[in-house]
């Protein structure tokens, strides 16, 4: 049995328990799942962005040897509804009708004996379109702007921001922009469908297997119990695999028509239009302060692009209105409809595009006032949510700034732009704040503890690289007093008890609390049996005081016995507990919602008692070549306070990866759109720029310890998003410091600095 040296497991830097599977190629991602005798599918997608399909000419495609079936709206359109909308308004259709909503829309599926035949036939499908002129983006003819109605997201109006702005001595009044971005996980969008006796198994990378199951049940008019979704390992997601996409139902129908397994792997380019993306945004910020540096007003208006029928938006003003004490606040969000696929959530969905303008504007205001930007933030720091008047459950923003500034060496900064130089390289130092709501999902878990001292945990959680396997094992091992090797973890399967959507920094806390609750149920049963037994060392003890630790059931007075003997008092087999966890702020039917495939997330922004956020501070050094204007990032430092960290090792990787995403957001990523054709022109992973190894130098992560008893019982805040927030602004501020050029539209490229 284990020794005490391994405890406590919660908070220990445990290597990923699935690590060996990942480095030996044994980890099964969805398209790796073996299925018998599959046929292969290839998608036909629209080459126009707006119009209707008059007709198909399938003769050449059907003549390709090995082609088994071709699906279009003409033969299967009535067999599947579109996925449920993931925001207000409606979803675009695909093969339901002849309508084309956007470039790259799914309009056909070719199935063949081999991938090569399916692809050849897919490329030979001829389509006659009735084409209309499409609107591509902001400012395009025919794009329609409308103010976002309050719903999931609210606007804030406090005091008189307009009057206060006009009356203030120091003012920033600027417009900003952020680009379209695509998640581009390295794992492509894949779907394998297998039918057996009227039941469907779907192997698909997913951030929400129950959500996909529920959507498919609605789309295909099937009992959800007849559908199983499996995603044991997910090869990156970043939001792209959280929303059910249209492809899955069509692949399921293709498999049903052939009565044969069908495998589908999208091309990299198709991934840009058959799933979601981060919409381009525009911003108008007005920020003012009095002579002491106290903010007097904040006005933040945002514009977000969306598809024609959907009002999807992220409304990051929910965070910007909460960052700093400010008596006069006004926020507004607009959606702009164009002929594009519907956007969705991408890592820190609201806060990457919305914190960028705020944190640049703060830097501009500080510069105007000749004040250090950290001091300006300190003057306006607050423990009370300025938007609602609720307390923050905890807020260590300035501790993050202080620790990161010290490590970075901020005190050595000459504030005058262009003054720091190393030969031909101009050096710039910049900083920005990070924030992300502390969300938590509902969830359920089943834990089995055998009389042999082994335990297993079952929960339909998702490991998208976040470390879910490992923190589940840590939580269970810690609570049951076992070693990690004594725990088996099963996740990523809708036949297991439901966990929520792995997104919005809500998953780790959601699943750990569900596992914790099931373990507590087991402990209580073991303890009750021990204390109510007439024999044995615990007769007469209070069961609440007994704990499982290091393979033993232990009392506060030091009494102990082997945990296996304690279990045997109840059963010679195994004890099993199923527990549901409904976090504060959620309705009693939240786990029921998960079973039916709906989201159930308690948001740090919508609680009645407190506002709950994680905070951080980002620092960046940039070097801009004086002649070529090439921009490099030799080092970044980020400090984050996010409550209790279950595994500092995997947390470090999450935060470091997030910070690199921030560098990417500032300097690399942008999906280019042809303004006439309304189609993406760099829809591959070479021309859509993301950092390669040589782009990244020193990345230093500081985890600022934080105890928060109010956020949730374990005290966890999510860390999946906060690492990316604010880094784009820190780099833009650093570029200004190096060059004196303020770039308010991302990404920052060489030509912005010429």
């Amino acid at each position: 049995m284990p020794d005490d040296a391994t405890w406590p497991l919660i908070g220990a830097p445990i290597p990923r328990i699935e690590g060996r599977a990942k480095v030996t190629g044994q980890a099964l991602f969805a398209s790796d799942e073996p299925v018998a005798n599959p046929a292969y599918a290839y998608l036909v997608t629209s080459t126009i962005a707006r119009g209707r399909i008059r007709s198909f000419d399938l003769a050449a495609a059907e003549a390709v040897e090995g082609v088994l079936d071709i699906l279009t709206h003409e033969n299967v359109g009535h067999q599947a509804d579109p996925p449920p909308p993931h925001g207000p308004g409606k979803e675009t259709t695909t093969m339901q009708t002849d309508q084309v909503w956007h470039g790259g829309q799914i309009i056909g599926v070719v199935v063949a004996e081999t991938y090569e035949a399916a692809r050849e036939a897919g490329l030979k499908v001829r389509v006659d379109y009735k084409e209309e002129a499409p609107s591509a983006t902001f400012g395009s003819k025919g794009a329609v702007t409308k103010q976002r109605e309050p719903g999931e997201h609210k606007d804030f109006a406090k005091g008189d921001a307009d009057a206060a702005f006009k009356a203030s001595a120091f003012r920033v009044d600027e417009r900003f922009g952020t680009p379209t971005q695509h998640h581009n996980p390295i794992e492509l969008f894949t779907t394998t469908c297998v039918w057996h006796d009227g039941s469907l198994t779907v192997y698909e990378p997913s951030q929400f297997v129950y959500g996909l199951r529920g959507a498919l049940a609605k789309q295909l008019h099937l009992d959800p119990k007849r559908i199983r979704v499996v995603a044991r390992h997910v090869g990156g997601a970043f939001g792209s695999k959280g929303i059910p996409s249209a492809r899955t139902a069509w692949i399921a129908i293709a498999a049903r028509r052939l009565n044969r397994a069908v495998k589908f792997v999208a091309t990299r380019g198709q991934g840009y239009t058959i799933a979601t993306y981060r919409a381009e945004t525009q911003h108008h910020i007005r920020l003012s302060a009095d002579a002491s540096g106290k903010l007097t007003s904040l006005f933040h208006e945002g514009w977000e692009l969306t598809s024609r029928p959907s009002d999807y938006n992220t409304s990051g003003t929910e965070t910007t209105a909460r960052m700093y004490a400010c008596p006069n606040l006004q926020t507004r969000v607009n959606v702009v409809h164009a002929d594009r696929n519907t956007p969705g959530f991408m890592r820190a969905p609201p806060d990457v595009p919305y914190m960028f303008p705020l944190e640049v504007a703060i830097d501009e205001l500080a510069e105007q006032m000749r004040m250090d930007p950290i001091e300006l933030r300190r003057i306006n720091d607050t423990q009370v949510d300025p938007a609602t008047g609720l307390r923050f459950s905890s807020r260590a923003l300035m501790a993050c700034f202080d620790q990161a500034a010290a490590r970075f060496g901020w005190s050595g900064r000459d504030p005058t732009p262009g003054k720091m130089r190393d030969g031909d390289w101009l050096i710039g130092w910049g900083c920005a704040a990070a924030a992300y709501p502390a969300n938590i999902g509902a969830g359920a878990a089943r834990v089995t503890f055998g009389a042999d001292g082994m335990a297993s945990v079952q929960i339909a959680a998702h490991d998208i690289g976040t470390g879910s396997h490992t923190i589940i094992a840590q939580t269970a091992a810690d609570r049951l007093g076992l070693q990690l090797a004594q725990i088996t973890v099963q996740i990523g399967d809708s036949d297991l008890p439901p966990a929520g959507l792995a997104a919005g920094s809500s998953h780790a806390s959601g699943i750990c609390h569900a596992v914790d609750k099931a373990c507590e149920d087991l402990r209580a049963r073991i303890a009750l049996a021990a204390t109510t037994s007439n024999t044995g060392p615990f007769a007469g003890h209070n069961p609440a005081t007994l704990s499982l630790h290091a393979g033993k059931l232990r009392g506060e007075d030091g009494t102990s016995e082997d945990a296996r003997d304690a279990i045997k008092r109840v059963t010679g087999g195994a004890l099993e507990a199923y527990a549901e966890n409904i976090p504060k702020g959620l309705e009693a039917d939240s786990v029921g919602k998960l079973y039916s495939g709906q989201m159930a997330i308690s948001r740090g922004t919508s609680r009645k008692d407190v506002t709950a956020y994680a905070f951080g501070a980002q620092f960046a050094e940039v070097r801009v070549h004086a002649r070529t204007r090439e921009i490099r990032v030799p080092r970044v430092v980020g400090a984050f306070s996010a409550g209790r960290i279950i595994n500092p090792r995997t947390a470090h990787s999450q935060l470091m990866g997030g910070m690199i995403w921030g560098i990417s957001s500032a300097l690399h990523e942008k999906t280019e759109i042809d303004p006439q054709a309304a189609r993406y022109t760099n829809d591959n992973i070479a021309e859509y720029l993301i950092p390669v190894n040589a782009d990244i130098r020193a990345v230093e992560v500081i985890i600022v310890p934080e105890q928060d008893a109010e956020v949730n019982p374990i005290g966890m805040k999510g860390i999946g998003e906060i690492g990316v927030v604010g880094m784009n602004a820190a780099i833009s501020n650093a570029v200004y410091h190096a060059t004196g050029k303020r770039v308010r539209s991302l990404p920052i490229r060489i030509d912005d600095l010429l």
């Binding site: 480095v23 997910v234 995997t650 470090h652 990866g657 990244i696």
Partner: protein
């Protein structure tokens, strides 16, 4: 077309479409799904395998063109109960991955990076590992892992597992 492929020391005889890539052959015909498809157009490096010890992109090689080579995939580095290759162990030691999808390609590329003599400094490793994208962005830890394994691989001379490659 009938072909013979030598993968991880085993000969496989099979009939393939001449258009079939080595990657699709490994994954769909031989059940070797450790090599990953991330772009199918030579941009991401997730499908990297060794051909006669040289790193290649399996999505860029037709199966028919791979017949004369000894191919090593991630599955060929360490059997189920065998000790890991030093590079695999180094990736574990440094948490040099998150989702793990690009990892087999990173590891195969990293082994070649060392045997090519391109792992002398961190800068060199960064440069010569830049053909393998990691969207989780584990890059600094990948550099640390390659650096660690380079020392160990040097100490044990050539990795014995690669002799059949």
């Amino acid at each position: 077309m009938d072909i013979t492929l030598t993968v991880n020391g085993r000969e496989h005889r099979l009939a393939v479409d001449v258009r079939t890539t080595l990657l699709d052959t490994l994954r769909e015909r031989l059940g070797l799904t450790g090599s990953k498809k991330g772009c199918d157009q030579g941009q991401c490096g997730a499908c990297t395998v060794l051909m006669d010890g040289v790193r290649v992109l399996a999505c860029f090689i037709l199966a028919v063109a791979a017949q004369d080579a000894k191919i090593t995939t991630i599955e060929g580095l360490a059997g189920e109960d065998e000790p890991l290759h030093p590079m695999q162990q180094a990736f574990l030691d440094h948490d040099a991955y998150q989702c793990g999808y690009c990892t087999p390609g990173q590891i195969m590329s990293a082994i070649a990076c060392v045997t090519e003599g391109h792992a002398g400094t961190d800068d060199e490793i960064r440069e010569y590992m830049s053909g393998n994208l990691c969207r989780c962005a584990a890059y600094p830890k990948i550099v640390a892992a390659v650096s660690q394994a380079a020392g160990e691989m040097k100490a044990t001379q050539a990795a014995p597992e690669l002799e059949h490659a």
